[in-house]
């Protein structure tokens, strides 16, 4: 028997995007932390697309940054191209996306981890989690077990007060390219084959999920003249609220846009029976919103073409990523299919597209803190929780890392609800909904998205980051100053009026705006579509120079005030139900008028409040009314007894 025991506060299993954030958060909060990786040379590896951010995912990155996470800073150091998406739409759906130099991204993150105090990187496969029976005081709170550490494949034990599972797609993974199946992790990396059994032994229910990635091509074999060039923005807006704007202005690399055509679709249709999904080989369930090209062709038979983005993998390599054409069709079909696309006629595939299948957590087993309900101290994050995407993973990693730390430090847990951040939406959906496929963040999932903009993530969440201890006083005070500037400027613009005098009327005319009938506030003028804050500078004598990010908030606050107020009222309604708590020892069998399905779902998810209960699939409003009145009678009954 090997008798080596290492002692840590926290053990993080996996050093992908979730693991890195989790480990950094714990170490930064002063906890001795070990992070395990199958390959120390592949820390923060991007096995799929070469970009960070994009619609709604950009929001997550901003929120991670606001809370004191690393992703935003890391992409600011390693991007190749940056673009704000959806600028023709409202500010709620603006989203930043950066093309990453994959190697650089990974190197930079490894560097941050290595420099971090209290953090130790260990290349090893964790084969077991270790636990004991929960002591009585924990049993009252629904815990059956208490985590004590992990054991690695060599037999060495790492004791830990908390463990964060960030195993990504590595648990018992296998990759499929048509009929060719390899038992490996992504990109040929070693899978983790033992931990699943240990988790099952600990009473954790697992399931199989599937995701996929398109082919990587040799850039030299692509004819870019047949594609349209996609440039980055100038100037570049940094992801992190702490990155200086000047530091991210640089020469950018282009992406390229081309399209599939009928010929492509015909090849896919003719070979659809050779796709492992359609042939029934893949047991796992794939993401609907990140569909393979086969899925798109089947789902949208009327569409005669689909977009294909050709994106660089990095400056260190010729390889390009064929975004929009992920596939698990056999290699011969892939070659034929890709070569029908304009510009790819002579392409050579460096790495085939493949689908990957892996073990992950069944829904209903997580607390809103991302702790496994019945095992005290065992947290989990990322694709293991059934999500997809780097940003979703990083957000959960940060959240789980913070809450593991809060538990050890005996401080209040971090809680972000649906009205406070996309992170809140993400976590609530993961712990409340029966996601049957990898969960991807989308703007439509956020009910209060007009309030949850990427531009105000710092205003929304820095305070929480500061409370937790990941945002220092200096950065927090900077934010408070910013908020003050915004509030003062909004107030000033509302109270500053311009009269209907000849100078102003001339100004109106010059800007194709209707003349003023009476004295009007500058705020009212900003609301006219033909004006902006900038455009009014000539008639705004008392204006002082303000930073761009302050002006942005001032404009949004004034221009969309009505919408923002109405959305805030919706949030008030939402919060009312969130505040109606459900006692943890409630016995749903006592509530006889609940429908059977609702009762089963409520037992399975054991929601902490009525709001959360109302979002569980299979629990309908009538059931919720029953619960509300039942709880009310319950509390009233207790009061009567007193």
């Amino acid at each position: 028997m090997i008798d080596i025991r290492e002692k840590f506060d926290v053990a993080v299993i996996g050093a992908g995007h979730a693991g890195c954030e989790a480990a950094l958060a714990c170490a930064r909060l002063g906890l001795e932390t070990v992070i395990f990786t199958m390959s120390a040379d592949n820390i923060a590896f991007m096995p799929c697309n070469p970009h960070i951010g994009g619609s709604s995912k950009g929001h997550l990155v901003r929120e991670i940054d606001a809370l004191g996470g690393e992703m935003g800073k890391n992409i600011d150091k390693s991007f190749l191209q940056s673009k704000m998406l959806n600028t023709s739409k409202g500010p709620a759906v603006h989203s930043l996306r950066c093309q990453a130099d994959k190697m650089e991204y990974s190197k930079q993150m490894r560097n941050v981890l290595e420099k971090q105090n209290h953090l130790f990187i260990k290349q090893a496969e964790v084969s077991e989690i270790l636990f004991e029976d929960a002591p009585d005081n924990l049993k009252g709170n629904g815990y059956q077990k208490k985590i004590t550490g992990v054991k690695i494949f060599s037999g060495i034990i790492y004791e830990a007060k908390a463990v964060v599972l960030c195993t990504g797609t590595y648990l018992k993974s296998r990759c499929l390219t048509g009929e060719a199946i390899t038992y490996s992790g992504p990109n040929g990396l070693q899978p983790s084959n033992y931990l699943s059994d240990s988790l099952i032994k600990a009473g954790i229910e697992l399931r199989r999920f599937k995701t996929g990635t398109p082919a990587r091509m040799d850039g030299n074999t692509i004819d870019y003249s047949k594609m349209s060039e996609q440039f980055g923005d100038s100037p570049v807006i940094p992801f992190s609220f702490d990155t200086k704007k000047d530091d991210v202005q640089k020469n950018q690399v282009s992406c390229w846009l081309t399209y599939t055509n009928e010929k492509t679709h015909e090849i896919i249709r003719n070979n659809i029976d050779r796709s492992p999904i359609y042939a029934g080989i893949i047991e796992g369930i794939g993401p609907r919103y990140c569909p393979s090209i086969e899925d798109k062709v089947v789902k949208f038979p009327d569409h005669d073409r689909h977009q294909v983005f050709v994106e660089p993998e990095g400056t260190y390599t010729n390889e390009v990523y064929i975004d929009g054409m992920s596939s698990s069709l056999p290699e011969d079909v892939q070659i034929a299919m890709y070569r029908t696309v304009p510009g790819l006629e002579n392409c050579r595939i460096v790495k085939n597209a493949y689908a990957i299948e892996y073990d992950c957590l069944c829904p209903g087993q997580l607390n809103p803190t991302l702790e496994i309900k019945h095992i005290h101290g065992l947290f989990s994050a990322g694709q293991f929780n059934g999500s997809s995407g780097y940003e979703e993973a990083a957000a959960q990693g940060l959240y789980a890392g913070i809450n593991a730390s809060m538990q050890i430090l005996n401080r209040p847990y971090l809680n972000i609800d649906r009205s406070e951040g996309y992170i809140g939406v993400l976590i609530d959906d993961l712990v409340t909904k029966e996601n049957l496929e990898p969960y991807r963040m989308m703007t439509s999932r956020a009910e209060y998205r007009l309030l949850l903009r990427q531009d105000n993530a710092d205003i929304r969440l820095r305070g929480k980051g500061h409370d937790v201890g990941l945002i220092d006083d200096e950065r927090y005070n900077k934010l408070l100053q910013k908020i003050e500037l915004i509030n003062n400027e909004v107030a000033r613009l509302k109270s500053t009026t311009v009269g209907a005098n000849p100078t102003i009327q001339k100004f109106m005319q010059e800007h194709n705006s209707s003349p003023l009938k009476t004295a009007t506030s500058l705020a009212e003028l900003i609301c006219r579509p033909e004006f902006s804050y900038e455009a009014l500078k000539d008639i705004d004598e008392k204006r002082v120079v303000l930073p761009d990010d302050v002006i942005e908030q001032v404009e949004i606050t004034i221009r969309y005030e009505g919408y923002i107020n109405r959305q805030e009222r919706q949030v008030e309604q939402f919060k009312k139900l969130e505040k109606k708590m459900i006692p943890s020892d409630i016995d749903y069998d006592d509530v006889s008028s609940l429908r059977l399905e609702a009762r089963q779902k409520l037992k399975k998810f054991s929601p902490t409040n009525i709001g959360q209960a109302s979002r569980i699939g299979g629990v309908n409003p009538a059931d919720i009314s029953v619960l509300i009145i039942y709880l009310d009678s319950l509390y009233r009954g207790q009061n009567n007894e007193k």
Binding site: G90, Q570, D590, S625, S633
Partner: protein, 478 residues
């Protein structure tokens, strides 16, 4: 804490289920696990034995309510019938006993006290229905409909509350919701997957759909005022100088068709109104006697006293002695009628008098304060002349002359009306967003509100405190 729900449902509640007034019979309702045990303690058969438990469920037995603490000669409180409905085949799905006693307030209260002394708890308003709901017998919208049925004061109210949540309104609201939901889903899909969902040209389509719903809801809402008034009755105040005939009018109205005496605010009896039925039209005539001393002040009903009531009223009946002279006090009354639906009754028309006030004079006086149309009826309270004309005039003023409701659907629930108004406001805000050229992602804010408000009407969205609100409106014993 243990099994709290059983503690709750295990406690047995009682209340008087019939109206709180002296009547021929009254019913006291008892519900809970111990209903039979408790009732048996106070029930005696004709042979003076406590044998309620030996009777079959779902049957009616005859006997007495007895107070065992009293001497044998005094112990009988009342002669009663008891019906016993065994769980779950009862209103609450619990064991329910209904004691049919004589309807006097005193005797019913004695029985109620006996029940409480023997282990029952006095039920909160609506608690029986709440139990029915909690035990899965009815859903929330049914509970609301039950409440409307209980409070229905005429056939119209009864019909409309029976129908509103099953019939056409439900169907209409569901269809609006489906249309709105589809539009929201489409916009959201396009935001998340712009490549595959194209929003070009969708705004015109969306506007048309929303405008259709808006005009539909406006039609529905136009029935609401009429519907609510048909259901709830018309708040009516009689004004006029002393001796003009106010009391006679009230007597004529109530005397001809004596209606229900409603106790408005539940337990408080401060304000009493007479409910008068003119055919199927209900008038709640504010009995100003209720707010004054009952002695000689009766004839001094002055302008001051009437003022407050007039402000709240839907209808003013201004009674004028046609043989008298119009003086300043009359003018002051007339000015009170500004912007109010008013009917002028020129009373004592049967008296022969050359100088009687003519309709034209009244019309002239009114034209100084109001442009509104107001009917003038010549009456004789003494002879009962003119009441038929009054009925027509009321129906003209409130229902476009249709005494019998003609529309298919009426909104008769104030909560529904308010939610429809909210829906309307939200939909108009969406149209406004489209017209101001804002992008689609803004529409969702107000589309969601509209969708939610409509859902709250039919119980498919969890309203604020809808559940509590509904039960709190119930009266005792239901």
């Amino acid at each position: 804490m243990g099994n709290v729900f059983n503690n709750y449902s295990g406690d047995t509640i009682c209340a008087i289920a019939t109206a709180m007034s002296d009547a021929g019979i009254g019913i006291i309702r008892v519900s809970g696990n111990e209903a039979v045990d408790i009732c048996d303690k106070i029930y005696c058969s004709a042979g003076m034995v406590h044998n309620l438990k030996s009777h079959k469920p779902n049957s009616i037995v005859y006997g007495y309510i007895c107070d065992e603490r009293k001497k044998p000669d005094d112990k009988i409180i009342d002669e009663i019938m008891i019906s016993y409905m065994k769980a779950p085949h009862s209103y609450t799905k619990e064991d329910v006993i209904e004691i049919n006693s004589h309807g006097g307030m005193l005797v019913m209260n004695q029985i109620l006290n006996l029940l409480i002394e023997n282990g029952c708890r006095l039920a909160e308003p609506g608690e029986f229905t709440k139990r029915a709901f909690l035990n899965g017998r009815i859903d929330l919208t049914q509970a609301e409909a039950i409440m409307d049925v209980i409070s229905a004061q005429n056939n119209f109210a009864l019909e409309s509350s029976r129908n509103q949540l099953r019939g056409k309104i439900l169907k209409k609201i569901k269809s609006y919701r489906e249309k709105i939901l589809y539009q929201m889903a489409f916009i959201e899909s396009a935001l998340d997957d712009p490549e595959n969902y194209d929003l070009d040209g969708n705004n015109d389509k969306l506007k048309k759909i929303l405008n259709d719903i808006i005009s539909d809801i406006e039609v529905l809402l136009s029935t609401a005022d009429e519907g609510l008034i048909r259901k709830n009755g018309i708040k009516t105040v009689i004004v006029g100088k002393p001796n003009a005939g106010k009391s006679s009018l009230l007597n004529a109205l109530t005397g001809s068709e004596r209606a229900i005496v409603t106790d408005i605010a539940g337990t408080t009896r401060d304000i009493i109104e007479e409910t008068v039925r003119l055919g199927d039209i209900v008038l709640h005539v504010i009995d100003t006697a209720g707010i004054r001393n009952t002695n000689d002040v009766i004839e001094k009903i002055g302008v001051d006293r009437a003022k407050a009531k007039v402000m709240e009223a839907d209808l003013i009946l201004y009674i004028l002695d046609s043989t008298s002279n119009i003086d300043d006090e009359d003018k002051e009354i007339i000015s009170l009628c500004r912007n109010k639906k008013t009917i002028v009754l020129l009373n004592k028309d049967d008296i022969e008098d050359k100088n009687k006030i003519s309709n034209d004079i009244v019309r002239m006086l009114f034209s100084e304060v109001s442009n509104e149309y107001f009917p003038i009826i010549r009456t004789s309270m003494l002879k009962g002349d003119g009441l038929e004309n009054l009925k027509e005039a009321v129906s003209d003023l409130f229902f476009n002359g249709e005494i019998v409701p003609k529309r298919e659907v009426y909104i008769t629930n104030l909560r529904h009306k308010e939610l429809l108004l909210k829906t309307l406001e939200s939909l108009k805000l969406v149209i406004n967003s489209i017209d101001s050229g804002l992008s689609e992602d803004f529409y969702t804010v107000d589309l969601t509100s509209a969708y939610t408000s409509l859902g709250e009407i039919i119980g498919e969205e969890i309203g604020d405190d809808l559940a509590e609100e509904i039960f709190s409106k119930f009266c005792m014993g239901k």
